[in-house]
């Protein structure tokens, strides 16, 4: 029993690797239910009109990207298909490269930089930067990532503060992220704020959703998968959900095994 109680962690790792890898190679097709929160976000995005402007705040880096990047990809695709213009800013040092990754496919297919989307680059200063940017966009960012003066960017004409966008979508991998936007901008300017959050931060962000400070919330990779299904374009997030299901089952299995061993050992000790 002590073997099961103190199982070599490498056995657990091998199990996890195998069971997560198999569905990535051969998907199992486990059906995915659409959560009401995802439906709300989808409806909100779908109600935007061609020519509307949306601000993306990319608050994640390559490390948290596996859980949150698919959300940014699919929401951007939806908005590009609808002809909505998207400005993207980042408060993470590696964010500008992520934004370049996001816009590359649309640049290649003929959408115009500066008219359909723009990379406002990285703004240093964390929470203070979010506060300043939300209240004075042109004055804080000054130039875009490619060095152009923001006054010369067509899609940013008449933009003063965050209220001039139909909505602000914060993709939150870590702080500064949603909470800073709520504290510094949403409360003061009463903007329409939507959040995409890594799964581990969902419990922490939930109070802001139920209080109405965040109008909608997508939850991690699962949220991206549900969004892909709603858009009718299943992609990488849907493909990874089977792996996530099996990953969860592996953890539950080992918790149960550990507890069975624990109880049997306790029983033996009593004898």
């Amino acid at each position: 029993m002590s073997f099961l109680q103190n199982m070599d962690r490498r056995i657990i790792y091998i199990f996890m690797l195998l069971l997560v890898s198999i569905p990535l190679i051969k998907p199992l097709g486990i059906p995915i239910e659409i959560n009401y929160m995802t439906q709300e976000v989808y409806d909100m995005m779908d109600s935007l009109q061609p020519g509307d402007r949306v601000l993306f705040s990319i608050n994640y880096d390559p490390t948290s990207a596996p859980d949150i990047h698919p959300q940014a990809v699919i929401v951007l695709r939806h908005l590009m298909q609808k002809g909505v213009k998207v400005a993207m800013v980042t408060f993470s040092a590696s964010g500008p490269n992520i934004v370049e990754q996001l816009i590359l496919p649309y640049e290649q297919e003929g959408k115009v930089y500066g008219e359909d989307f723009v990379n406002l680059g990285f703004i240093a200063g964390g929470e203070t930067a979010i506060r300043n940017f939300g209240r004075d966009i042109i004055g804080t960012a000054k130039a875009d990532y490619r060095g152009a003066n923001l006054n010369s960017i067509p899609m940013l004409q008449d933009i003063v503060d965050a209220r001039d966008f139909e909505l602000v979508y914060v993709f939150h991998g870590y702080n500064p992220g949603v909470q800073e936007w709520v504290r510094q901008v949403q409360g003061a300017l009463n903007i329409n704020l939507v959040a995409g959050v890594v799964m581990v931060s969902v419990p922490e962000v939930m109070p802001f959703f139920t209080s109405g400070q965040i109008a909608g919330m997508l939850q991690g990779l699962r949220g991206a998968a549900e969004y892909e299904l709603l858009l009718g374009q299943p992609g990488s997030a849907v493909a990874k959900m089977d792996a996530q299901s099996l990953g969860h089952l592996v953890i539950i299995f080992f918790v149960i095994v550990g507890n069975i061993a624990f109880f049997l050992e306790k029983k033996n000790a009593k004898k």
Binding site: Y13, M16, P31, P62, N97, G125, R222, I252
Partner: protein, 216 residues
């Protein structure tokens, strides 16, 4: 004076930054409290940049010593220094040649092929470590542990698509747990922690808490 001057600077700068969140006061014809706070925000970035230099010197000295002494795993210290210098040089070149497509592509490739891959690999390790930590730590020793384990299982099954296949109430239960008990706990801890942070900041501003200055 060695203690008084830093405390006085802390108080003045702290109050300036704090008040600038609530009021704007004109300071002469050109400046205001807001612009002063903004200026101080710029100083933070400059001081942080100097701190990067200081920290990098520490890194270089420690790893140079490893190499000189041929300590165990010294080869990793060589790799660290090579990448530290290489990445810095690339950043400087890119900054001074913003028009260079080759440099931008090279930088993007380094980002995608090295930084992203390493970052994703580290993030993925969380899943493995979570499995081994759960196997070791989640024992039903008492009622509290049983409740904790029960909540964990419901959340995990409620969030993974397979949970709904097993029992269609798992997602509903997970949503309820997230919206009700979770919110209660999160708000309580959040309020307590925010008040704690406020009190700590106040003690620092008043010079009562001076652990960061190296003395009681």
């Amino acid at each position: 004076m060695r203690r008084e001057i830093p405390i006085a600077i802390t108080l003045i700068v702290g109050l300036t930054m704090l008040l600038s969140n609530f009021v704007d006061v004109p300071l002469g014809s050109e400046y205001s409290l807001k612009s002063l706070a903004s200026e101080l925000g710029g100083w933070v970035i400059i001081i942080s940049a100097f701190a990067v230099g200081l920290a990098s010197v520490n890194l270089v000295r420690i790893h140079s010593n490893h190499i000189r002494r041929r300590s165990s795993n010294w080869i990793y210290s060589v790799l660290l220094l090579v990448f530290l210098v290489g990445w810095t040089v690339m950043g400087i070149l890119e900054f001074h040649n913003p028009e260079s497509e080759a440099l931008r592509t090279f930088s993007q490739n380094m980002f995608n092929s090295i930084l992203s891959s390493l970052g994703a690999a580290m993030f993925a390790l969380v899943a493995l470590y979570l499995a081994s930590a759960a196997n070791r730590a989640f024992r039903v020793r008492n009622l509290d542990a049983a409740i904790l384990l029960g909540a964990t299982l419901i959340m995990m099954l409620g969030r993974a698509p397979v949970g709904a296949l097993i029992w269609d109430k798992f997602p509903v239960m997970a949503d309820w747990m997230l919206s009700v008990p979770n919110n209660v706990g999160q708000r309580a801890i959040m309020i307590g922690a925010a008040i704690g942070a406020f009190a700590t900041s106040l003690r620092i501003l008043l010079g009562i808490e001076r652990g960061h200055l190296g003395s009681e």
